[in-house]
């Protein structure tokens, strides 16, 4: 492996380019017209314009990506997250074009991409899943029968799901028909796949996910868990490692389930297995597996000292992981907040535009992953992530106060950001005491005095 095409944009493209540099790999960045002059294009050894702003004409074009990689003499492609990262056809096309896809084998991407198949796979291995349908629902009547069996409220989900699209909570039987039709239409529009399934809705759940890492020599291990319970509309806003609420016995089981799942699926590379944890019952359930690097991977890196992107490259090149499970130690605590170009006081409306002033915090135990700089124009075409601010501490409280102090001196002008929102969340007693769940932002925080002024 000598030259890598970075098939992404934004902060993750920058992150991947930096990892390549550390490994002595050359980089080729690709950019749409909207990303001309971006930090990734400045840092890469070479940059190519691949199309107009619209993702479907640029970052989502498999043929363009492969042509760009081949035409510039690349031998590997890193897909980052989003865009083509979990596209099995892309991974396959890379393989056929003699390009190393820095990710898992195609068949695992395909298996885990189908949420119903993944759920069946987990259940077969004895990994707990939330009670619900085994197969895709054929009708509202079928959904109604399952809902009656598992009990309301239920959650309708898209088989091709992700990002909360095609997802609907149904609290009573009378709401089912409309929710079913809407979820199906949404899933059809978003994924070109209207298949739905239904599960019991777990109230006051926590989202806990396990980072796994596997090589092609039979080594498959975990790097502990992340707690990403702070979400708004299924979008993660704050992530931390380790989870502040998992009892040790439950943690052991959960980590073991994750490793079993990854190993049995024939996984290779870095991946994440997401679980829902129901603290009231002391139980956990498999949600889905993400076959890529995650946005929130830095919190794991902070507490384990492992560079996940570097390991992805090593494994993709056919090397063995440089450590085994006994050498993985989770030390201290790390918290990450996603700074987005959104106006928290206006319903989190996107706020693209020119950044007239940018001063990211620096200091001990702090890490900021970003592609932004003063004068950078945040384009309106892509996701709103500007920066990930990550703080490490010997314990959770130290990490929290360090992060809060960092966000207090993080100044961005010209556009609106979620920084003031995060300051309030981090200072909230529910967060300090970890009395939160996946709907806490919407049900408690935004509804009460948590509103940012």
């Amino acid at each position: 492996m000598k030259r890598v095409l970075v098939a992404n944009r934004g902060e993750i493209a920058v992150r991947v380019i930096r990892a390549c540099r550390a490994l002595g790999l050359e980089t080729v960045a690709v950019y749409s017209e909207a990303d001309r002059g971006s930090l990734a294009t400045q840092l890469a050894d070479r940059a190519l314009c691949i199309g107009p702003p619209r993702s479907s004409d640029s970052y989502l074009r498999i043929d363009t990506m492969v042509t760009a990689a081949r035409g510039t003499g690349c031998d590997a492609v890193h897909p980052g997250y989003g865009f083509l990262a979990e596209n099995a056809a892309f991974a396959e096309m890379c393989a056929r074009s003699e390009l190393t896809f820095v990710g898992p084998p195609t068949q695992v991407i395909r298996l885990m991409g189908d949420k119903i198949a993944a759920r069946q796979f987990a259940a077969k291995l004895g990994v707990p899943v939330i009670s619900g349908t085994e197969d895709a629902l054929h009708s509202v009547e079928e959904a109604s029968a399952v809902a009656a069996e598992v009990g309301y409220p239920v959650l309708l989900k898209a088989a091709a799901g992700g990002g909360g699209r095609g997802m609907r909570i149904v609290r009573a039987r009378g709401e089912l028909r409309e929710a079913f039709e809407r979820a199906r239409a949404e899933a059809q529009a978003a994924f070109d796949d209207g298949r739905l399934y239904v599960e019991r809705f777990v109230e006051e759940a926590r989202h806990v996910e396990v980072q796994v890492l596997a090589d092609e020599h039979g080594q498959c291990l975990h790097l502990g868990e992340r707690d990403c319970s702070l979400q708004r509309r299924h979008q993660k806003l704050v992530e931390e490692a380790p989870s502040p609420v998992l009892p040790d016995a439950l943690r052991r089981e959960l980590l073991e389930s994750a490793v079993t799942l990854a190993r049995e699926a024939g996984y290779r590379s870095a991946g994440t297995i997401e679980f829902l944890v129901e603290p009231a019952r002391g139980r956990y359930y498999f949600l889905e597996m993400n076959t890529r690097i995650q946005v929130e991977h830095p919190v794991t890196e902070m507490v384990t000292g492992v560079d996940l992107v570097t390991e992805q490259f090593r494994v993709a090149a056919g090397s063995r992981l440089s450590f085994d499970q006994d050498q993985v130690h989770v030390r201290g605590h790390a918290i990450e907040t996603r700074v987005n170009a959104e106006a928290p006081d206006a319903g989190f409306r996107p706020s693209p535009g020119r950044i007239t002033s940018w001063a990211a915090p620096e200091g001990e135990g702090l890490r900021v992953d970003t592609h932004c700089f003063e004068g950078y124009v945040v384009p309106p075409f892509y996701d709103s992530l500007l920066a990930k601010t990550i703080a490490f501490g010997a314990n959770r409280e130290e990490a929290r106060s360090r992060l809060l102090a960092a966000l207090e001196r993080f100044t961005v002008e010209g556009i609106q950001t979620t920084i003031p929102f995060h300051r309030r969340v981090l200072a909230h007693s529910d967060f300090i005491e970890s009395r939160i769940h996946t709907r806490w932002i919407e049900e408690s925080f935004l509804g009460s005095g948590g509103r940012t002024s």
């Binding site: 050359e26 017209e33 190519l48 042509t67």
Partner: protein
Amino acid sequence: MAIEREDLKEILAAVATAGFDEFSLEIGDMKIRLTKQGVVSAASPPRATTVTEAPAPLQEAPARPSTPPASRPAPVEALDGLLAVTAPLLGTFYRAPAPDAPPFVEVGSVVEPDDTVCIIEVMKLMNNVRAGRRGRVARICAENAALVEFGQTLVLIEPLP
């Protein structure tokens, strides 16, 4: 981007056949400057073409050789009044429909708006690029079989009524 021995060989071969009298290349800290024997830099030395990663800098016309080879585009004195046909997508630029076929256009060819001036290949899929306006081909700005970026200028056309 580090240059390997093989890369250098290819560059030298390309320059030798391209008809440039002078050539300079800058990648990061590395600079290569080549001058053909017999070319004397006189009062007005030929300007070197700088090969960059960005789309071909159109202002910098290639150095004018004393006797331009027929296949080589005539230098464009100015961009004034010339219209650019740009790459509608990233891919491989071809001047002809097949390796042994004559090129779609040569410098001086008169084209109609719907005439194909070149092809961009993306994974075996051939995309015809049309002139878009009536005019005379003033310059062909990309090398045959080279990777071109989205939006890169391929052909310059002098509009005709």
